[in-house]
Chain length 357, copies 2
């Protein structure tokens, strides 16, 4: 268990690391941010900084020696980096959880083996395998690289008339999976935390709207039946327990409706704090960031109680130009990430509205 005054190491210097630093400070915990880019938004709010590559073993060694635990803000931490660090200092969540979620085929297989429902999927290592997978799963279907995809990158839709060869080229002929297209009625997510002693605490079910494959809006609670929400939360808890997870994770899910009612299909696991949980900063008794810090520090979790009806809007690219109007709105909680250029598709900030239930 870390004590006040101890230091948490964070791999990655983006907005998630920044908000983790802001949540650690009130608990008396210091943060040491390690990232390859010198201009990471987290560097503005941390006690210690290392700017170095993830394969710089000298820098990693000094980093490990300066912290009581290491965590990360992104799932694509190189396996060698995680292994190097975990030989020297506790890494939470465990690198084994990363390994399970860095590869979409491994991840879907893990979920299916847990008895959870996932969209149909097939492993695709060649155009020939893609063609036979399309024949089995039907169209439309989505081709996704097994590794390093996010925000719609490394994906290609195969519709009626799409030549599989074009899709295979679009994902760079990388090892991939083909997923059956799910005619979902909603996208939802569960943001859950598991502590070192195995206690699980979950925020209420989030409903997410995407634009151009990027989260645009989250509302809480999701407009689903109570039993559907219960099933979604139970699935996320099952995943957290099966992974032996310590920290916050998000599970993205599809809600489909058929004659039998609503069903939950698991889409993917994000082994980190998650954009769909940003509303918890003002909208829950404990934020996802404080919850993650508590978990990786070995502290008890806080209460995930929701404090009102939530609407969170991402500020993507030039959306952030509206900051003066948002700052003037007494009902809006503005969050800007301290990034420079409002590039297209870049997450610049978010706004949360909390209204009485």
């Amino acid at each position: 268990m870390l004590r006040p005054g101890d230091t948490i190491g964070i791999l990655g210097g983006g907005q998630l690391a920044r908000m983790l630093c802001l949540a650690a400070a009130p608990l008396g915990l210091r943060c040491h941010v390690y990232a390859p880019e010198a201009d990471g938004p987290a560097f503005d709010v941390c006690a210690e900084r290392t700017v170095a590559a993830y394969d710089d073993e000298a820098a990693l060694g000094r980093f490990a020696a300066s912290v009581g635990v290491v965590t990360y803000e992104f799932e694509n931490v190189p396996a060698e980096t995680a292994a190097f660090l975990s030989a020297r200092v506790p890494v939470r969540p465990d690198p084994a959880a990363l390994a399970r979620t860095q590869d979409r085929f491994v991840e879907k297989s893990f979920l299916r083996d847990l008895g959870l429902e996932v969209p149909g999927f097939e492993k695709v290592d060649s155009l020939a395998e893609l063609e036979s997978a399309v024949a089995r799963l039907g169209r439309p279907a989505v081709l996704k690289t097994r590794r390093f995809g996010y925000d719609g990158k490394g994906q290609a839709m195969i519709r009626e008339g799409t030549d599989p060869a074009d899709a295979w080229a679009a994902v760079g002929k990388h090892p991939s999976i083909l997923e059956a297209f799910v005619p979902f009625v909603r996208e939802v997510s569960v943001v859950a935390a598991r502590s070192l002693d195995g206690t699980v605490a979950e925020f209420d079910l989030c409903e997410n709207m995407h634009r151009d494959h990027i989260l645009a809006e989250t509302i809480v609670p999701a407009a689903v039946r109570p039993e559907t929400a219960t099933a979604a939360l139970a699935a996320a808890e099952k995943i957290a327990v099966a992974l032996g997870y310590v920290g916050v994770l998000a599970v993205e899910m599809f809600i489909v409706e058929d004659g039998a009612g609503e069903r939950v299909l698991i889409n993917e696991i994000a082994p980190r704090v998650h954009n769909s949980g940003h509303w918890t900063i003002e909208g829950a008794r404990t934020s996802q960031f404080a919850q993650h810090i508590r978990a990786v520090a070995g502290w008890p979790l806080g209460s995930p109680e929701r404090l009102g009806r939530i609407r969170m809007l991402n500020l993507v690219g030039r959306d952030a130009d509206a900051w003066p109007e948002i700052a003037a709105d007494p009902r809006a909680h503005l969050h800007l990430y301290g990034k420079g250029e409002p590039r297209r598709g870049r997450k610049m900030g978010h706004v949360t509205h909390v209204d009485k239930d």
Copy 2:
């Protein structure tokens, strides 16, 4: 008006500066902390740091050149420092407000001239003046140095039987004032903000309990009649306007009861964010820290709406040893300031409880 990405300079590196930094970051504003002590708690959460004396003009010059506005976390900023900086960069609140509040005689005279009720007071520059002041104001009375007193330092009580010479020695024979003792029923404070365009926003009236002259507990709302609360808020607004104040200030007041009902006497002005406003971090829609940042950045103020019934407890000295129990209490919001040694009388943190109204 500062823009996201701009930098606010803060004089002082204590917990108030730390919480100002934590409030500036979500607004996309960077902080540069300037303090003489290298181990200030604010240094753990700021983008830029200067460790230098307040009379180091080279360091002050570089500091002024690196920021868009300067503010401070404590009222005893040397007048020369404030003057040096305000010749180079906007300083908010204005150093003239500091000058009005750094000297108790000037401050009380200002308040009386505004038509506000203050405890009877007399200027005391010698033992002879003290003896005649005691004769006029009666006993008990409190002798206080005109400058640099806080948390009960630089004060001596003159009761029946106290030799004025002993009290005069106790305050170091510094220029002082003698104040009539006020048989108050409650101590309260108003935490108010005034923006650059003159808008005033006030948090609800706080009721404060002190122990050993240090704030121990704040509850909100204060248990006073509605018209008393209204009068207290009106007095604070009058002060903020008369000072041409920009930023957050706190006005400490006594509530006395007599046949005519409750009356408000002004005790003193703190030209900065204030311990009795720490509850606003979770207990109000906008925290006093975000409010101060907004004001000094030239932004519109946020809503001071209270979100529940409040109880804030200071963690002084070894109180902070209870952090594991507080961290495990799902109703408690723990704040630790990242200070090392829990010395007697040292403010180490606070805990806020927000309960449904």
